[in-house]
């Protein structure tokens, strides 16, 4: 709600101010100044809340809140001006979860006639009268030079490359598409019946049925296209179409019909075939007047998060953003999000939905994974970051050092200006400056915001575990949270839940094949997600996705699902392996928890239970540590229970630790001895027995198991020390039998001599 948002904001402002001034006194005065400066706005907001407090609902006072927020941000900005050298920011203030970052992809071509985006190939296309420039956006490398193709002159309404990038298709008018083969320079023109129908657009498909889909007012034509560019009509879907939207990501095309364009027919052209979705009606609030609002193509967005396909639709009358989720056999409305702006667009970054409230110039982040439709964080502006932002992601930081030069100065950037086009999933095209931005998320800021607004660390961990883009950062944050939970001595049940989340997430990612160990300690997060997904590969891989059909899941699968996962395997997932949990959480807090070893043991036990439930293994050092902790608090009874039940899994290291801790309690030492014997670690067992003075038993054992690796002098010296000459004689005899040639050793002579000296009565 706005109230929590305010709290977030305060927290954020002060964490900022605090960082600058490093003084709690000045931080307190910051609050005072903010409240003094923004007293009117604060009062307005407060009175708004107070007036409706009995019926308060989320975001009722948003208008007042936004006013207060902007005032506060303004104040904070004046008070703590950012040093321009290290980081320059544009936008209202430095508070943000989402930002665009330098460098941008520049596509300024002289005599440019238009910019297009081919989402299937992730190409940014700029056309002049006779040329097509295309940039790869997948790598988002500003240094990359465009590939240039010449095409005959003519009007261009849209451009799309075929999935193998061999053919450029250009829509010339509402009844004509031209195809140009980039190698053979072959040209083909496809026309539809003029007058009776008009062409709305087209897209390439990788479904086995067709390669090209052409959407017209009368329906959709599906064509197969061979290498010689012969188009063959395969199928026609007859629907009256007012407009359509398509994203290659979802392979879903939505055709809108009806007076209000409310009736939607959908098809998924996936590698599994063409699936027709049930027809559904979008929701539009009816107004008092008889005017019937019409949904336009810009009001509807296809959103792909967590492998699910959603559609979000703007309902300006109701000021709501309706969400629908697509299943294979159903379209289910999911609830609605509030709108605070007459213009609106969406991006998807790292499976989070970013709703740009363009008029308000703020972005609100939602996590559609959770059932709650509450935003992840308060509305905050989109930020522009310069060269060496402190929070820059690694890939940006490394590249920027080499190319500091850029002509895009911050003065040119106007946030949410009219010429901005939001591209699927996370790109922003600034038509004025002819630059392309990628939207980033500041994980730490969102983490801070969430943790400030809710004390529920479990859902926070879940949120972080779902992050893919900045996996390493998410992972570090998770480890930090886990450590903090233990150090703060949170109730064991809370810590348990948190650990369960981490273990389950790890187990899932291992099963799904996403998790990959970091190699050489280097972060693999430097590779952007969408890297290297050339359509060729994607197509090849995606063809395997037909298997998805056999899964029981009724949910509509993304055709490129497996391909995505494969791409992600190159990243380190935020999943934390049990070994890492041991190393970075348990082992690291051990020293600080000396006084609370009982508590730590309780947590470790829950951790082991969680691991065992997921059938995972963990570094055996955690058992060694558990023994240490139990022995420290003198819980020997439980220690023997833990060992007997194999909660502490037997191993040599564990046995040795038991022997060591057994210095305080002989029963524990015995557990260690028993474990050595059970593990058939004969040498260690015998040595320990001798060390404890059980040299006869040790020798018997050695004789029985034919162990000769233990130094014979050990037994002899022990027996000699005990002053029992009968034992010494017996040992000499057994050793003579056990070790061939023992009688010839000097050892034998020494002890035999000693024996004769001391007692001549004992025969050997």
């Amino acid at each position: 709600s706005s109230d929590t948002a305010l709290v977030n904001l305060l927290v954020l402002s002060f964490s900022n101010a605090g960082m600058k001034e490093k003084n709690s006194a000045t931080t307190a005065s910051t609050l005072g100044r903010i409240l003094a400066t923004c007293s009117k706005q604060a009062k307005d907001y407060g009175s708004c809340v107070a007036s409706i407090v009995h019926e308060i609902e989320k975001d009722l006072c948003l208008k007042q809140f936004l006013a207060l927020k902007s005032c506060m941000q303004h104040t904070v900005k004046i008070m703590s001006p950012r040093p321009s050298s290290s980081q320059t920011s544009v936008g209202s203030g430095a508070l943000s979860h989402a930002y665009i970052q330098h460098p941008s992809l520049r596509c300024n071509v002289p005599e440019s006639r238009g910019l297009f985006y081919d989402d299937a190939n992730r190409l940014l296309i700029c056309v002049t009268s006779s040329q097509v420039f295309s940039w790869e956006t997948a790598t988002f490398n500003p240094d990359v030079s465009p590939s240039v193709d010449s095409i005959p002159e003519g009007p261009i309404l849209s451009v799309r490359f075929s999935l193998d990038k061999k053919v450029i298709a250009v829509q010339r008018s509402d009844c004509e598409i031209q195809f140009f083969h980039r190698e053979t320079k072959q040209t083909l023109t496809h026309k539809c019946r003029a007058g009776s129908e008009s062409l709305l657009g087209f897209f390439w498909s990788d479904s086995p049925l067709c390669d090209l889909a052409v959407v017209k007012t009368s329906g959709m034509d599906l064509f197969a296209c061979d290498s010689a560019m012969n188009l063959r009509l395969v199928e026609t879907k007859k629907v009256n179409v007012n407009w359509y939207i398509y994203t290659h990501e979802s392979r879903l095309v939505l055709l809108a019909s009806g007076l209000q364009c409310k009736t939607i027919t959908g098809f998924q052209l996936s590698t599994a075939g063409v699936v027709r979705l049930p027809k559904f009606e979008m929701t539009l609030a009816s107004t008092e007047s008889n005017s019937k609002p019409i949904i336009s193509a810009g009001d509807v967005h296809l959103v792909t998060v967590y492998g699910r396909i959603y559609c979000v639709q703007v309902d300006m009358e109701a000021m709501l953003l309706h969400t629908y989720r697509f299943y294979r056999d159903a379209v289910v409305q999911q609830g609605s999000l509030p709108i605070y702006s007459s213009k609106l667009s969406v991006s998807v970054v790292d499976n989070l939905l970013l709703v740009h409230q363009i008029d308000a110039k703020v972005v609100i982040i939602y996590d559609l994974f959770v059932d709650s439709r509450a935003p992840v964080s308060a509305p905050l502006p989109l930020l522009w970051r310069g060269y060496q932002g402190s929070d820059t992601s690694p890939q940006a930081a490394s590249k920027e050092n080499e190319s500091p030069e850029s002509s895009t100065s911050s003065e040119n950037i106007v946030m949410y200006e009219d010429a901005w086009t939001f591209l699927v999933p996370d790109l922003i095209l600034d038509q004025t400056n002819k630059v392309l931005w990628r939207v980033h998320l500041d994980l730490e800021a969102s983490w801070l915001a969430i943790s400030a607004s809710s004390s529920d660390r479990t859902s926070l961990l879940e949120f972080l575990q779902r992050r893919k883009l900045e996996a390493n950062k998410a992972k570090q944050l998770c480890l930090g949270i886990a450590r903090a939970l233990i150090l703060e001595r949170r109730p064991a049940t809370q810590v348990t839940q948190a650990i369960d989340v981490l273990v389950t997430a790890y187990s899932y990612s291992v099963k799904a094949g996403i998790y990959k160990e970091l190699k050489n300690g280097k972060t693999t997060a430097t590779i952007p997600t969408n890297d290297g997904a050339s359509p060729d590969n994607e197509r090849g891989r995606a063809s395997g996705s037909s298997l998805d059909e056999e899964e029981e899941e009724v949910e509509m699968n993304l055709p490129s699902g497996p391909a995505d996962e494969q791409q992600e395997s190159q990243l380190s997932s935020p999943a934390i392996s049990p070994d890492e949990l041991y190393k970075f959480v348990f082992a690291s807090v051990e020293e600080m928890m000396v006084e609370e070893s009982d508590y730590l043991v309780a947590i470790i036990t829950e951790f082991l239970r969680s691991i065992s439930a997921e059938k995972l293994k963990v570094d055996l050092n955690i058992y060694v540590m558990t023994i240490r902790l139990l022995a420290r608090s003198k819980r020997f009874a439980e220690l023997s229970l833990f060992t007997a039940n194999k909660i502490i899994e037997p191993s040599k290291e564990v046995a040795l630790q038991l022997l060591e801790s057994g210095g305080q309690d002989p029963r524990v030492r015995k557990l260690g001895l028993d474990m050595l014997r059970q593990l058939s670690l004969h040498h260690e067992y015998i040595s320990s027995l001798v060390q404890d003075g059980y040299y006869l038993e040790a020798l018997r054992y050695a004789q029985k198991r034919k162990v000769t690796s233990v130094r014979s002098s050990l037994f002899l010296e022990a027996a000699f020390a005990s002053n029992d000459m009968q034992h010494l004689a017996a040992i000499l005899r057994v050793l003579s039998e056990l070790i061939p040639g023992f009688k010839e050793t000097s050892e034998y002579y020494t002890f035999h001599g000693l024996l004769n000296e001391t007692s001549s009565s004992v025969a050997v």
């Binding site: 049940t493 309780a602 036990t605 082991l608 009874a637 833990f642 899994e649 014997r677 006869l696 038993e697």
Partner: protein, 504 residues
């Protein structure tokens, strides 16, 4: 020894305090407990007098450990110094007809056990005597306690009305040697758990601990009459385990349910009846609590076990009072809460001093809210993996393994032991006696012992002691050679005792 030959009394048991009754004519003051109570005073005095004389005499030679046992022609006198100068002496008749001889260590084990249990519920005898120097309170508590304890060994089938025999002078019985030969008093029997179950249990233990909020809450979990988990010290575990198996486990409740009808019909057995007892040693002035009284525990609707043994809560509450026990390890008084779900019995121990008014019901509520679901799941899980009463039966073997250090033992199921021929059992009993003797003699560090005996019926009875682990075994169907018999033991040791007993 005229008093010993007086008749059919097979058992005499007395507790006396050497510090009391030092002056002539005051000797009776020494005696804190005597069974049978109806025996005339002079006989009682002669038994204690003889015992005291022996103790004083033997102390001349061995001040640390005075006499342990006197073997007379027809009786054995077993001595146990329970607390300094407080002695328990048991006189048992040797049964010539059956040839069954009581193993002295087993008898002393009983004395030890009854004393430990008494201390658990009432505190030490010495402390009681100091609190109330006339000894009246001590006697009033000891009398029903020991009698209740011994009544446990009565054959249930033979004594429909055994719950009342406390005050009608019925003959008490010691446990049958069939039952004691392959068992070890003062140890607990553990349930072997699979690792994942053990982790679930441990997790439950932690939940139970958290139910008491900031207080320390010790706990013990039993499945049927086997120990699943404990956070108590070994000695406290043994005591509480013994009590739980006697009175609290699902089986103990079940058998008391079976006899509850007769109990109800007679309308006796409540602690109030002590006032009209025929025995002179009961002092009706004292509030006598009979913690070991049978038939007194019931499972309440909320799953907690309730009893009126401790009377009602103070302050006019209709709820029965929660029992309080002493912990040996910490010398702390703790409330004992027992929760039961099917075969699973959970004991919670909460420090008395830290519990404020209503604190216990809050803990109970927490247990029901936080733990009952887990308890249900664990019970189900254990039950599914549980092999029944013969789970620890090993075909062809009748065995007892004791770990004296950990105070843990495991034995063949009693139903299987019962199939042994009497000769085998007698031989085994004799063998154990030998081992006991050998153990007490060999105070040396390396206590390694191996004895194989061929019994009259050609069965092999074998004892194997290796440091602090003991193995006793009867093999009736083993072949003729000693080698085969030791091989069989070696196989058993490797398979079931993780090779603890190395056989030559």
């Amino acid at each position: 020894m005229a008093s010993m030959s007086s008749g059919d009394e097979s058992l005499r048991l007395c507790v006396f305090d050497l510090r009391r009754g030092q002056t002539e004519g005051q000797e009776l003051d020494k005696i804190l407990f005597f069974h049978p109570p109806e025996l005339d005073v002079s006989t009682q005095l002669s038994v204690t007098g003889l015992s005291e004389g022996l103790i004083t005499f033997t102390r001349l030679f061995s001040p640390e450990a005075a006499c342990e046992v006197i073997e007379a022609e027809r009786h054995s006198h077993v001595f146990f110094e329970a607390e300094t100068d407080i002695w328990m002496v048991m006189v048992v008749e040797k049964n010539k007809d059956t040839g069954a001889i009581w193993r002295i260590d087993a008898l002393r084990g009983m004395l030890k056990e009854v004393h430990s249990l008494f201390v658990m519920f009432h505190g030490s005898v010495r402390a009681l005597l100091e609190k109330e120097p006339t000894g009246g309170l001590t006697r009033a508590q000891l009398y029903p306690f020991i009698t209740d304890y011994l009544s446990t060994f009565q054959k249930r089938s033979r004594s429909e009305d055994w719950c009342c025999d406390l005050f009608v002078g019925k003959k008490l019985q010691l446990p049958n040697f069939r039952e004691t030969t392959l068992s070890e008093r003062g140890t607990v029997q553990m349930l072997t758990l699979a690792r994942d179950t053990a982790l679930e249990v441990q997790s439950l233990v932690q939940v139970l601990d958290s139910c008491a909020g900031n207080l320390q809450c010790l706990s013990m979990i039993l499945f049927q009459d086997l120990l699943v988990s404990t956070t108590l010290s070994p000695d406290d575990t043994v005591n509480l385990f013994t009590f739980a198996v006697m009175r609290l486990t699902s089986q103990a409740l079940l058998s008391s349910d079976a006899s509850s009808w007769s109990h109800l019909r007679k309308g006796t057995g409540s602690s109030e009846t002590s006032s009209r007892s025929t025995s002179g040693s009961i002092d009706s002035l004292h509030h006598v609590i009979r913690p070991l009284q049978n038939d007194k525990w019931k499972k309440g609707k909320d799953g907690f076990l309730v009893t009126d043994i401790w009377g009602l809560e103070t302050g006019g509450s209709p709820d029965p009072a929660i029992p309080i026990v002493w912990l040996q390890e910490t010398q702390e008084r703790v409330y004992l809460l027992a929760y039961q779900y099917k075969s699973l019995t959970l004991l919670l121990l909460l420090p008395e001093t830290d519990i404020v008014n209503g604190g216990l019901s809050a803990v109970k509520q927490q247990v029901i809210e936080q733990a009952s679901l887990r308890i249900m799941k664990i019970e189900e899980k254990i039950s599914r993996g549980w092999g029944g009463e013969n789970a620890y039966h090993v075909k062809g073997y009748r065995y007892l393994v004791v770990d004296t250090d950990l105070e843990v033992s495991r034995a063949s199921p009693s139903g299987k032991v019962a199939t042994l021929a009497k000769e085998s059992l007698l031989a085994l009993n004799k063998l154990r006696e030998e081992v006991d003797l050998e153990k007490s003699r060999a105070k040396r560090q390396e206590r390694d012992l191996e004895i194989c005996i061929r019994a009259k019926n050609n069965a092999w009875v074998i004892a194997r002691v290796s440091r602090d682990k003991e193995l006793y075994m009867a093999l009736e169907k083993a072949s003729d050679t000693l080698l085969d018999a030791t091989d069989a033991v070696g196989r058993f040791s490797n398979r079931y005792c993780s090779g603890a007993f190395l056989m030559d």
